[in-house]
């Protein structure tokens, strides 16, 4: 085993696959159906969605490495509690940093920063990957999955903010191209919670019709 690893370069095709798979055909949200709670709740505007993605990337990347380093010392019976404590410690770090440097966004995210702890992507990756793999692949797996997660968040938030408030990151797109003068009115429905679900549903629809091998049942 160790010889094999020595021969393997840090960016071997296998490792690159760990990074790119979750972005497309093994996406945590649309295919593995993990971490939906937070994905839907923070996507009414683009900015909180981006902050949330970066937070999850930090927690998942660092957490995967820590779990992977500890994987041989964690007793099987209490592993869930150990994992939860590690995640909670990382999330407290994120929360305190956000409160110090991005207070407005942290207020908008409200309880959802804390809910990164129970984000199923993180527990899911710990259980499925980093408990059984070395630190470097685990790190790549964590980053890949959080990019896949962040990508869906950004897509959903982009459409919801654009059609719901007519802005992108606070910049008034529709106003500057003069759409309002033509009689366009913002679709307030896009900002409401149910629309997030429907948007994700449509993304899944588009993705699966382009990759028929993902269709189950």
């Amino acid at each position: 085993m160790s010889e094999q690893v020595q021969k393997e370069s840090m960016f071997s095709p296998k490792n690159i696959k760990l990074l790119t798979d979750p972005i497309g055909k093994d996406n945590p949200i649309t295919v593995q159906v993990l971490g939906i709670c937070s994905a839907l709740a923070v996507t009414a505007k683009l900015e909180p969605a981006i902050v949330m993605s970066i937070s999850v990337m930090f927690v998942l990347g660092a957490g995967n490495v820590i779990i992977s380093l500890l994987r041989n010392t964690i007793p099987q019976r209490i592993r869930i509690i150990v994992q939860l404590v590690i995640i909670a410690a990382l999330v407290i770090l994120v929360d305190q940093v956000l409160k110090a440097y991005a207070y407005d966004v942290s207020k908008q995210l409200s309880v959802f920063v804390g809910l990164i702890i129970t984000n199923c992507i993180i527990m899911g990756r710990f259980e499925a990957f980093s408990m059984a793999n070395k630190p470097w692949p685990s790190f790549l797996d964590g980053i890949g999955n959080s990019i896949g997660y962040g990508m869906i968040l950004v897509i959903v938030a982009f459409f919801r903010e654009l059609f719901g408030s007519g802005t992108i990151l606070g910049w008034e797109v529709f106003k500057s191209i003069g759409l309002y003068d033509l009689g366009y009115v913002n679709n307030g429905f896009m900002i409401l919670p149910p629309m997030a679900l429907i948007t994700v549903g449509i993304i899944i629809w588009v993705q699966r019709s382009r990759n028929p091998e993902l269709i189950k049942e």
Binding site: L40, I81, L115, I117, P194, I198, V200, E217
Partner: protein, 205 residues
Amino acid sequence: MQEIFNIFIKSIFIDNMVFAYFLGMCSYIAVSKTVDTSVGLGAAVIFVLGFTVPVNYLLNEYLLEPGALVWLGEEFAEVDLSFLSFIMFIAVIASMVQLVEMVVEKFAPALYASLGIFLPLIAVNCAILGGSLFMQEREYQSLGEATSFALGSGLGFFLAIVGIAAIREKIHYSNVPGPLKGIGITFIITGLMGIAFMSFLGIKL
């Protein structure tokens, strides 16, 4: 008393965990294939929320809040431990789930058999931690209010998951476009159910 009842109704319908805040979505989608299992999960969520939120309320009140340590003596009035709340809450939830599991197994084997694997899974259900965090954020005034909020939220989750499970059982016989089958249509139906639940928004309590 009326305030407590208002919070109960509000947390079932208006601030529904699933439709208004998307909490517990993962298990909501994963376990809602049949009505039987979703009843089991819903019951377990009510159960665990009903235990953990009051316990976390007491912790928050007497340990974590700014100035909560006054009962130890005047010199502790300045201490603010609220940054520890995530780790305390999740520790309480994980251990309460374990405890509830053991108690239920001992005294109500029939219930234990029907809840089955859902009890341990609940430790990582966002709805449970979300319940505690909302309790902290909304600053409920008494133990009674916190408990009624917990039971109401649990019941709201129960209604949502049983509803979607019933719809999914029926939709099995419908002609859904291939790529939309499974989770795609589930998302869209949940959105539509959310719109229906939004009609409760007009209620003033």
